[in-house]
Symmetry: C2
C-alpha cells in the first residue's frame, strides 16, 4: 500500500474507515462522496432516507480498535449509549402495559446506540487531519475503467462561483479503488461490466418509517435509555433506540399491505392501530405528532443484496452495503461493513500479490456475507414475534445458563456470537446448528424418558411439584412436534 | 400512443421493432443508440462480442407479422436460410464420420438462420422511412428521472467538426421510455432506483468463442446449408449456422476450465481436441485457421438475467435482454424479445390506463420470461449430450407420431411449441409436464404388464423377435429407474 494511490468511493462509515486503514498503511488516499459533507450545518441530513441510529457492536468496535488508534475509538464510544437488552412492550390480559427486559448477554456485554452522523463525523474529522488523505464531496462517479485503472467523477457542486472554469468532470487514476457507495453502488455497477458477477437483489415485503419520540417535559428519556425497545406485533413491529439528546429514534416495520391500509385510512385509525398493537407509544409521541410524522416521513423499502465476487483483478473491491446490503434486524449492517474493512486489509497485509489477496477476501467474505444476510432476515421473525414465545425464552434461558455455568462446553447463544464476538459469521452458524441438534436430541431423550422409562414416576413427581411444570410440558410438546 | 412521445433506448432488433410498433400507433418516436449506425461500412461490426447469426422462429416472425407490414416481413424472410433440423455429427465405433439429421418438426416447420446485422438493418431502414421516427446513434444514456420523465444522453461522436458547439449532453423528455439496451441495460440500472426490483443475474459455467467455416474452394457450403449443425461432446459442444455468403458461423461452447486448458496448451492440442470431439470440423476449417481464430476471437461468458417488475409507473418499461437475458441454447433470446414487443403493445392497445397496461405486461411477461430462461439453460444439456441418447430419440419419436397421427390428442413436443407456436412459454411448460406424466405412466404400466401380467408371454415374444427390443428394454429400465 505504501505510496500507492487508493481511491475510496463513498464517505459513509465504511468508506471512511477504509480510507483510514489505507492511509495508515502509507497510501495516498482520495475519497469521493456523492453527497455534501454531512458535517456542514446546511447539508440536508440523511434522516428519513437512511436510518439515523445504528447498533454498534463488537465487530464494528473491533474494526475501529484494529486501526491501533485508541483515541479515535474512545471518541466514538463516548458518544454511544449502552443498550443492555431488549425491552419488550406488551399489554397483559388485563389490559395493563407490561415491560419485560431481556438482557442481551449473560456476561453483561451490550449493544451501543450510535448516531450515524456522529460516528461518520468523527471518522471524517480524523481523515481531515491526515496529510495523505483528501476528501472530495459532491463528486458523482460517472464511469470507471478497471483495466486502465481510471474513474470519472462529475462535480455536482455548481454553486462554487469562485471556480467558474472548474471542469465539470474529472478523471482520476488509481492503483486500487474501494467502492463503499451503498446498496445502489455505482462502483458495483461499473465493476459488473468487468467481473463475471453473480448478483441477487430482493426487496422483502416490509416497509419502514421513522418517528422521533421526544424527551419528557422535564427533559428526560421517555422510556428506559439503556434498552432497545421492541413492540412486537406478529407480522409487524415498532422499535426505539436512544439518542444522546434524550429522544428516541423509532421505526415502524410492517408488510406493504399494512402501510397501504394505514395510508388509506383516516388519521384516527393510525392512532387506534398504535394503541392496539404498540401499547404505550402514544403516551410518549402525542397522537397529532404521530400522524404528522407518519405523513411527513417516507415509507421506505428494505433490500437484501448478495453478490460474488466482491473484487475484479487487483484494481477494485466493494465493501459494505455495496457488496452485501442486508435488512436491519440483526443490527449487523454497519458492523459487517466495518468488519469487511478489517478483513480486507488483513488479506492485503498478509498476501503480497494483490490479485490473490482480493481473491482470498472474496472467497472468505462472500460466504460470511451470505450467512449474515440470511440471519438478518430470520431475525425479523424473532424480533416481531418469537421474543414473546415461551419456548424461545426457555431456549435462551438454557443456552445462557450453559454458557455461564459450564464455560468449558463452549456453549453460547447465536445472538452473543454474532453481536459480541468476532467469530466468522459462517462459523457462528455451524456452532448454532450443532447446538440446536444437541439440545433437540437431549430434550427428545428427556421426553422419551418421561413417557416410556422407569423414570416416569419421578418425572410425574417433578411435573406435579415443580413451579416450572408448564414450561417443561410446553417444551416437551414443542420438541416432540419437531 | 397517438401524439405521445416515446423514447426507445437501444436500436438492436428488439428496440428497432418497438420503435416501429410505437410509430405505427402515431407516437413521436426518438431512438437513442449507444453504438454507431451498424449500416455504415466503417462501423466496427458487433462480430465476436454478440453472436452474428441467430435462429429466427415463429415468435419473432409473428412479432414482425403483427406490424401488419407484409413487405417488411418478406424482406426479412428472403434473407434467411431455412434450417429444417439438427445435423448431429459424431464418429462411429469404427472411427468413420457419421451425420444424423433430426428434423425439427413433424409438420415440416423449420428454424431460419438470420444475420443479426441484416435483420437489424432492414428494421432501421424502415424506421428511417417513417416521418415520426428519428434515430440518434452514439448517444450514451447517462441518467434518467422516471418521475419527471426526463433522460440524459451524452453525445459520444466528438468527431463531427461541423458542430463544434454542439452540446455534450442533451436532455430528452418523454411520455414513455422503452429500454431495449441489452443485458447490461442502463435503463434498467436507472429504473432500479425507482422500482422495487427483484433482480437476479448469474453467469453459467460456460464460455463461447466464434469461428467462421469458409465456403469450399468451389464456392459452395462446406456442409449441409439447411441444418443447424451440432457436434455434441458431453460437457461441451460445437455448433454451426449457415450464412447467405455460404460460410457458416460456428460457436464453441464449454466450461471455463476447458477454455483455460485449451488457452494454456500448445497449438497442436487445440487441433487434437477438435479432431477428438468435433470430428470433421478441421476438414472444413484448416487447423492453422482454427488456431488463429481461437486466439483472435474473444472467449465470452453467458449470463442469465431474471427480474421483476419490468416497468415503473407508466413512464418506463424494459424489454429483451434488458429484462430477461438468457443463454442461447433454445434460440429464443431474440424471438422472446420480439414477442415481448408484441405483447407489450397488445396490452397498451387493450388497456387505456397505461400504468395498468404496464402492470399487466409485467405480470404476464415476468412469468414467461422466467420459464424460457430456465428452458434455455436446460437445452444446453439436451444439445450437448441428450441428442445422442436413445431414450431421448425414442421419446421424440413417440411424441412426434402422436402429434402427427392423433392430432385430436393435442400432443406436441415441447420444442415445437416453443419454436413453432405462439403459446405462452408458461403454458408450454404446463403442457409438457402433463405429457411427461402421461407418457411415464403409460410406460410404467407397460413395464408392469411385462413383468406381472398375463401378457408376459406376448411381451417376451415381442422382445425376442422385435428389431427394436434393445430400445424397448432400455426405455423400460429408464422409466422404472425414474
Amino acid at each position: 500500500m505504501n505510496g500507492k494511490k487508493v481511491v475510496v468511493v463513498g464517505a459513509g462509515p465504511v468508506g471512511s474507515l477504509a480510507a483510514l486503514y489505507a492511509a495508515s498503511r502509507g497510501a495516498a488516499v482520495e475519497v469521493y462522496e456523492l453527497r455534501s459533507d454531512l458535517r456542514n450545518a446546511d447539508t440536508t441530513p440523511l434522516n428519513f432516507t437512511k436510518s439515523i441510529n445504528l447498533a454498534l457492536s463488537e465487530r464494528g468496535i473491533n474494526a475501529l480498535r484494529s486501526t491501533g488508534n485508541n483515541e479515535l475509538l474512545e471518541t466514538v464510544l463516548e458518544q454511544t449509549i449502552p443498550m443492555h437488552g431488549r425491552m419488550i412492550h406488551t399489554r397483559s390480559a388485563t389490559g395493563s402495559l407490561t415491560e419485560q427486559s431481556q438482557l442481551y448477554d449473560v456476561h453483561g456485554r451490550f449493544q451501543r446506540s450510535v448516531d450515524r452522523g456522529v460516528l461518520n463525523g468523527v471518522l471524517l474529522n480524523h481523515l481531515d487531519s491526515l496529510p495523505n488523505v483528501t476528501l472530495h464531496f459532491q463528486h458523482k462517479m460517472t464511469g470507471a475503467d478497471f483495466r486502465k485503472r481510471r474513474a470519472w467523477f462529475e462535480i455536482t457542486d455548481r454553486t462554487d462561483s469562485s471556480h467558474p472554469n472548474r471542469p465539470r468532470e474529472i478523471e482520476v487514476d488509481f492503483n486500487l479503488l474501494i467502492g463503499a457507495d451503498g446498496a445502489h453502488s455505482t462502483t458495483r455497477y461499473h465493476m459488473m461490466k468487468y467481473a463475471r458477477m453473480n448478483y441477487h437483489q430482493e426487496y422483502i415485503d416490509c416497509l419502514w418509517c421513522e418517528f422521533t419520540m421526544p424527551p419528557t417535559q422535564s427533559g428526560d428519556f421517555a422510556i428506559s435509555p439503556n434498552h432497545l425497545h421492541i413492540w412486537p406485533a406478529g407480522s409487524f413491529m415498532f422499535i426505539a433506540l436512544p439518542n444522546l439528546d434524550k429522544s428516541f429514534v423509532c421505526t415502524l416495520f410492517g408488510p406493504v399491505e399494512m402501510f397501504v391500509h394505514l395510508e388509506d385510512s383516516p388519521d384516527a385509525e393510525l392512532v387506534a392501530f398504535f394503541d392496539k398493537h404498540f401499547p404505550g407509544v402514544t403516551n410518549h409521541i402525542p397522537p397529532s405528532d404521530l400522524i404528522a410524522q407518519f405523513k411527513r416521513n417516507p415509507h421506505l423499502p428494505l433490500i437484501n443484496i448478495k453478490c460474488s465476487p466482491h473484487h475484479f483483478g487487483d484494481s477494485v473491491v466493494i465493501l459494505g452495503d455495496a457488496a452485501n446490503a442486508m435488512v436491519p434486524f440483526y443490527g449487523q449492517g454497519m458492523n459487517a461493513g466495518m468488519e469487511s474493512v478489517r478483513v480486507l486489509f488483513s488479506k492485503l497485509d498478509a498476501i503480497a500479490d494483490r490479485t490473490a489477496a482480493l481473491a482470498s477476501y472474496t472467497e472468505e467474505r462472500t460466504k460470511d456475507a451470505h450467512v449474515v444476510a440470511d440471519l438478518a432476515l430470520g431475525n425479523y421473525i424473532e424480533m416481531r414475534s418469537s421474543v414473546t414465545s415461551r419456548l424461545y425464552k426457555l431456549r435462551k434461558y438454557i443456552e445462557e445458563r450453559l454458557d455461564k455455568y459450564v464455560p468449558s462446553l463452549g456453549w453460547a447463544t447465536q445472538y452473543s456470537r454474532i453481536s459480541f464476538s468476532n467469530m466468522r459469521y459462517s462459523e457462528v452458524i455451524k456452532h448454532s446448528q450443532r447446538q440446536k441438534r444437541i439440545l433437540t436430541a437431549v430434550l427428545l431423550a428427556m421426553a422419551a424418558a418421561v413417557f416410556t422409562g422407569p423414570a416416569a414416576a419421578l418425572w410425574l413427581y417433578v411435573l406435579r411439584h415443580s413451579q416450572h411444570r408448564r414450561r417443561i410440558l410446553y417444551l416437551m410438546i414443542q420438541e416432540v412436534k419437531w
